[in-house]
């Protein structure tokens, strides 16, 4: 077609298109909530059954890394929020820089996660591969670490997806003048990134805090 309209034929206007995309992202996030919801439900069941083992196992996690990661993720979310704000023709460079910052923090998060995993491997905390724990709580602790690895691995996967999406947006914004289409995309990706962040806050509370209150 010679002069293609800026939006696909099923939409009435660019605005219509962008709002539609945003609704799509919200529905997708609803799906994701249930994905983690199933996992967290399983966690609650076992934590209820083995409260002491879960507390003991939780004390073996690396709270320093966990806290650092929380801070990192919150900061990166903040950067993304700023980037959404800075998405104009004039401040385009700033926007890209902010996105790059968020990406870097995201990568740092994943890196630290890797360090944490390695530490847990050395301490024989990986169920099914190399696990030994105080006999008294061994079973409950196994369940705890199963949850820990499955949940954080899935979360890390989400991080990697989010990072890639941010990278795509950053690149687009860098190369071309920002269009409303890109803005809509950035909006959606930012939503996703905030969601991944929110999930982490829950995971943080479930993984690092039990047994550390007193």
């Amino acid at each position: 077609m010679p002069n293609r309209p800026a939006f696909a034929p099923q939409y009435v206007s660019t605005r219509h298109r962008d709002e539609t995309a945003e609704l799509g992202m919200w529905v997708f996030i609803a799906t994701e909530v249930l994905l983690f919801g199933g996992l967290i439900l399983a966690y609650c069941v076992f934590r209820h059954t083995y409260p002491e083992a879960f507390a003991a196992a939780s004390r073996r996690t690396e709270i320093a890394i966990g806290t650092a990661n929380t801070a990192i993720l919150l900061t990166s979310s903040f950067l993304v929020a700023c980037a959404v704000d800075a998405f104009t023709e004039e401040t385009r460079k700033i926007c890209v820089a902010l996105l790059a910052g968020a990406i870097a923090l995201g990568l740092l998060f994943v890196l630290l996660k890797g360090v944490e995993y390695a530490g847990e491997y050395r301490e024989h905390l990986v169920p099914g591969i190399d696990f030994s724990f105080d006999d008294k709580f061994a079973n409950g602790a196994k369940l705890f670490f199963l949850f820990y690895f499955v949940a954080t691995a899935i979360h890390a996967l989400h991080m990697l997806i989010g990072i890639s999406l941010l990278a795509v947006i950053a690149r687009l914004t860098w190369r071309r003048a920002p269009t409303t289409r890109h803005r809509a995309a950035l909006h959606s990706v930012a939503l996703y990134w905030h969601f991944v962040d929110a999930v982490w806050i829950f995971l943080f509370a479930l993984i690092y805090l039990p047994g550390r209150a007193s």
């Binding site: 709002e19 995309a21 799509g24 529905v27 199933g38 439900l41 099914g128 949850f147």
Partner: protein
Amino acid sequence: MNEDNYLNAGYTLRSWFFTTDHKRIAILYFASLIFFFFIGGAAATLIRIELATPQADLVSSDMYNRLFTMHGVIIVWFFLIPSIPNTLGNFIVPLMIGARDLAFPRLNLLSWYLFMLGGCVTLFAIAAGGIDTGWTFYTPFSTLYSNSYVAVAVTGVFIAGFSSILTGLNFIVTIHRLRAPGLTWYRLPLFLWSLYAPSVILVLATPVLAITLVLIVVERLLGVGFFDPRIGGDPLLFQHLFWFYSHPAVYIMILPGMGVINELISCFSRKAVFGYKFVAWASVAIAALGFLVWGHHMFVSGQSLLASLVFSFMSFVVAVPSAIKVFNWTATLHKGSIRFDAPMLYALAFIGLFTIGGLTGLFLACLAYDVHATDTYFVVAHFHYIMVGGMVTAYFGGLHYWWPKITGRLYSEYWARTAAVLIFFGFNLTFFPQFILGAEGMPRRYHVYPPEFQMWNVLSSGGAVILAAAYLLPLVYLAYSLFFGKRAPANPWDAPGLEWQTPSPPPEFNFETQPVVTRPPYQYTPDFRAEPQNA
């Protein structure tokens, strides 16, 4: 036939495999689903042939277990769940709401590729040696004891799950955002309500299945897991998670079928569906309440008696909206001007068979009777009545109804009616005896069985052969119509929906000009002529 239609918009493979046109994607789905239906159906036919005698004669026990697992897995996830939504829904939804495509056409295509990928992975698991856990994957058998390709098959289902999620998402957003001007919620044809509701289930329940499948794979790979009783894990937790998805999933399967029935009943009795709002909200009620009944699959598993009580009660409650629908359909017939074209025959068969399936569902929801009936052929008969007698019948009905629109051709009415009648008889012969078997106590998933059950089994197997032949018929005459059928006019049934106000087959972007809706759906004049929604 109009010259500029979606079918002749391109002839290259590329124009099919990289299309974003919802109509072409619907065709892609349609072809894939026929394939999976025949694989699943062939497995079922083998099962039935084997069960004609009490001993094992055709296949070994291991093979038998692989057969029914493959039957269940393929036909549930790769045929029935996507059946109406992904073929008819994909094709009709944008047409019905007066849009030029779904909200996210590329996501739609991605969803098909995911579906095919999941299907291939599952087929690979079957070809490599099969899987023998039953479609329910109960732990700890599936995680620690089965020596079959569980992890691979589960991965296939997992991928297909994401395909479902994307489709559900697409429908939700489309129905929210892309309705034609004037098309308010209460002017939507009921088919759309019946796709909207299960789409919500797809989006909210499928991820729980996904995570459960991940946990299965983890447990298989590591040898320890959440469901492992040896370390204090709980096998029943798996059942809770699985049914939290799978019970709502049965409504994913039936609701679109009910939606089709609304269209058919109304069109062929030339009357508006009785009690539109009640039927519409009944779909929503079924979807919502359907999330609260999963424990009725676990009445004898050892869950607390109180939990059983609640789940039993909720199962009765969720049946109420189904009852509302059945009564409204019947009332729609009253003082109509009823024509018995093939789609209508399917619709009438649907109402009868679905009601039998639903009523026997009540037997199962009734605690004390379920103690006896669970895991017997009574359950098998119950769900085949709903899924095959109900949903597959509705699928065939809808397919015949929209066939002229989809292909621009008319099929042979004679053969279509013959097939409908044959399917009806074959079906009842296959599955009615199974109620009796179940009531007498024959357990399901039994490769060999005590000889006193043989008579009913033989009847059932005989029926299955008739049924298989009957299902082959449409394949033949529909394929024939593609090449030799008469050209279809735009509105062969004289129906009022928007999809009929555009040529058959529709042009690439569905409507030349944006339709504006001025009427509620299903309007007919006193002499039973359709009043188009947009005129």
